[in-house]
Symmetry: C2
Subunit: 157 residues, 2 copies
Amino acid sequence: MESNNLEASLADQHDILRSRLNREGLRLTGPRKKILDLFVMTPDGEHLSAEDIHYQVTTKGGKISYSTIYRALHMMVDLGIMREVELAEERKYYELKTSLAKQHHHLVCVQCGEVHEFEDHRVTKASRQETLEHGFLLRDCQFTVYGICQTCQLSAL
Amino acid sequence: MESNNLEASLADQHDILRSRLNREGLRLTGPRKKILDLFVMTPDGEHLSAEDIHYQVTTKGGKISYSTIYRALHMMVDLGIMREVELAEERKYYELKTSLAKQHHHLVCVQCGEVHEFEDHRVTKASRQETLEHGFLLRDCQFTVYGICQTCQLSAL
DNA sequence: CAACTGTTGAAAGCTATTTCTAATAAGCAA
DNA sequence: TTGCTTATTAGAAATAGCTTTCAACAGTTG
């Protein structure tokens, strides 16, 4: 029953993405389904890098190339389905865009990489105000706070 | 007279950086002076990438290697003299940290790359509050708003 | 000014991402 | 269903930004 619900919801997501893609002359393929599934099943507050995706697919016995992963990610970012976030220096992370209204931001530990998500109305307001004042059309904004978490502070002693 | 003042202020900057470096067993060298000078002479709201620095030095007839540029930039970031900012996808940009109190943020046009700097007390507050709530030690925060500037909006018609 | 040790440039290396291409497979129409 | 059209795939090679290595060099200090 559990798994039926899950499967149903994944199938729904597939249909949504398929029609979105087809409208643009694009196609929903096996690899794209797998990638979408991973994001749908990823808990809030976690993000996936291209490497994460490759690892998750291959350890499940699947097979996927990095070029496919990157192409799918870019495509979904272009369609406005995903967001690229800069959490660590070395690589890019991706997350599904849920609601445009619910912007969230990140608090990152620069030592261990732990990430907290948070919402802050003031930040959202500031981005609206700033784009308005300069006549910009708001596309996205990223607010990332870098610090050292308690655990790392203690272990540094 | 103009140039005397400029030279004087550059020499002052050199002395400040020299003593700061020597305190840590580091040295103020020719290439480091050149790099610092570029940042001092760069107007507010502009940022330099490693490539920019290389270009500026070499077109003035100078010579500098990328390894030296990157080493100098990292050193100054570690010393807290500079800040690394993520303005574009492909490369990192650097700016001098002026006053720690005066945090500023960036509004970037995703089409033409135009950058505006702005301050916003609410954002600063939000970063303090968030780190406090999670027991983090605040290191830095970056708030970057992405949009499309008026010029690009008009030229898209 | 000599010794000590940090710094430099050039080249090699690294790694995330992108490009290229022949083979494959969605989506569409009959 | 079947076949056609064309987007998409895997895999390899290429790219790009950045880092490391190391022998020669040059600030600093006494």
